[in-house]
Amino acid sequence: INAEYGAMSNDNSLSDSSQDSDDELPKQKKQLLEDGISSDSEIDPLVTKSRKIEEKRLENIEQSQFEVDAEQQQAAADLRLDFEIPDAAVLQKEEEQGFDMTMLWARIEDVSRILSNFKNLRNPKHSRAEYVSLLQRDLRFYYGYNDFLIEKFFSMFSVEEALALLDANEKSRPITLRANTLKTRRIDLIKALTERGVHVEPIPWTKVGLQVFSSRVPVGATPEYLAGHYMLQSASSMTAVIALDPKPGERILDMASAPGGKATFIAQLMKNKGFLIANDVNPKRIAALTANLHRLGVTNCIVSNLDGRKLPERMKGFDRVLLDAPCSGSGIVSRDPQVKVKKSRQDLQSLSAIQKELILAAIDCTKSSKSKSGFIVYSTCSILVEENEDVIQYALTKRNVKLVDTGLGDFGVKGYVHSGKRRFHPKMALTRRYYPHVYNMDGFFVAKLQTVNTAKGEVKESIPKPISESEDVSRKRIREAKPKDPNGPKTKRPKMNSNPKVTVQLITRSELKNSKPSRKKLKKAKK
């Protein structure tokens, strides 16, 4: 430590003197301690006092040493941080010639540290936006993404969280199974699998989930698997069916069910009573769906091959509908790295459009009468707002549905109530989001809707319009600018409604006064 201290510090005089004293002191201290061990009373009080002073001095030196070390480390770090953002030409050269990954990662770390302590560490020449764009560009090349997803992640998360998410996307999630209660119990399955050499533990928040920690045999080919005692299913997918909460004897529809993980889970919760319709639009995947249904011993299921948007024409009046919508897969990057490169803004727009059509079809398929209401669960394996909250918001405006609690409790991040300039219904907080870097599960979104019947003239739940500050201000200005009408009483302004054919009767304030007795009059009458 002394050598380093001597080498790094600039103030040599201080170091020299302390070095001399350091060499001497330990010996003195040793002697003192040795003396002290025998008996304190024998030592002269002056000696003890001097000993205490020396100890304190030692402490101070140690502390200052520590502080200087830390300072010097920081200074060294700052030296590295005091870098310029490279020119576009330099960056171009990098791209052409190939990247040095360690250098790239060092730059990523530097920029993220600057951004976390921006006020102190920034280079005044560059704006925050420049740092952020450099970071995004570096991350893009480091992890192999296109611009689109990186931008999206940065718009949703802080820098630290985005980095954690990107890191989590590189690692795979643990393998999870679901015990098939139609053929076995979870306890028996754990026993049987342990005998086979598969180390499994139950997942605490489900009654049927298992997590595989290690395995001597392929988990997807054991005789228990073939006999239909369990199914390989990601933990996120289980949440969608837990939210759906199917009961025996109900009529349930699964609109996009291939390869059948969720459909078989629904059937096992239904105990093969009632009926289930497992639909999928892709005929190539239906073989897998049917095979899984047969393997797991599901007897009350019909498999259909229809475009989900046309399902309401075929059948309606389901008690529950599950829509695991086709999505960009931004939450399952760890399973399918192609998502990093393949998805673009156009893809997202077209997907969002299909999802909106599908959710309306799902709502139309559900039971909605005076006495009974149905449930719809919408889920995606994506974490982007355009595919999740946007679609639910669209459904709320277009159909008579309301958001209800998913039944997952506090497990999961609450859905966004606002995103950027957009404002969603306050009950959007009832939906749940799952992130790979928080729960070690695939990225997922679950929302539960209930149909509301407005036959009796119930007022549709009011949804707040997206208000931006500028809009608000402009309204205020209009109000202020409007001059007071000196002639005659104020007329009530007709309300703006969507249907121009409907006219609103204008009534004057005096008429309004006369029609309804005022509060004062009512109070007087009461007395």
């Binding site: 997807g220 080919a221 005789p223 228990e224 073939l226 006999a227 009926f275 319709i277 005929p283 239906i286 073989a287 897998a288 049917t290 095979a291 249904l293 047969h294 393997r295 011993g297 007897t299 009350n300 299921c301 019909i302 498999v303 259909s304 091959n305 229809l306 075929r314 059948m315």
Partner: protein
């Protein structure tokens, strides 16, 4: 011979129509095959206490489904309906019926003759091989030859079905390498031949 050929011709024409109940001839062929494995217990499949179940033919495959579910499946068109309830097997173009492993649960429930396989030979059977004398664990008494049997693992898990090559008495006297049971269907087909059985 002429009646046989006309029978086949009729069958082929009728096959292309919507989901329908089996014709008498088809029912005969199908039940004959079923009885090979299940014997007289077929009556438990046809006459159930809880609710009426029916057999239906869709795209030359036979499905076993409750009547209520069958009525709902009428909503779907020929090309859209791909499976109902449990698939028992399919009719070939020449009119023969092949049983698939998808109905193993029902076969095992009402099985008359059973065969148990040793753990060493379990995997071999699951790969689609026949069962040899060396792999034979147990077999029901008085099993005749050419009898449909359900194959179980030693932990009483049904893993497939087959046809005996010899009677139980003869089996005791066989060499270890001789075939005891001819493979007809096993659970491994869910991985090997998924599309074929479904």
């Amino acid at each position: 011979v002429s009646t046989q050929s006309t029978g086949v011709f009729c069958f082929f024409c009728v096959c292309v129509v919507l989901m329908r109940p089996l014709t008498d001839e088809e029912t005969k062929i199908f039940f004959k095959k079923l009885a090979k494995y299940v014997g007289r217990n077929i009556k438990f499949l046809i006459e159930r206490e809880d609710e009426p179940y029916v057999f239906r033919l869709q795209k030359s495959r036979v499905y076993y489904v409750s009547e209520a579910l069958m009525k709902i499946s009428v909503n779907f068109g020929r090309k859209e309906l791909l499976s109902l309830g449990v698939c028992f097997g399919k009719f070939t173009k020449t009119g023969k019926f092949y049983m698939h492993v998808t109905c193993l649960d029902y076969l095992a429930k009402y099985a008359t003759y059973k065969l148990w396989v040793k753990p060493s030979a379990e995997l071999s059977f699951l790969y689609g091989n026949h069962i040899l004398k060396a792999g034979l664990g147990r077999i029901t008494e008085n099993t005749p030859p050419n009898q449909g049997v359900i194959v179980y693992s030693m932990s009483d898990l049904p893993i497939g079905f087959g046809v005996t090559a010899h009677s139980t008495a003869d089996c005791r006297r066989l060499d270890p390498g001789a075939i005891v049971c001819l493979h007809q269907g096993d659970l491994g087909e869910y991985l090997r031949e998924e599309e074929k059985i479904v």
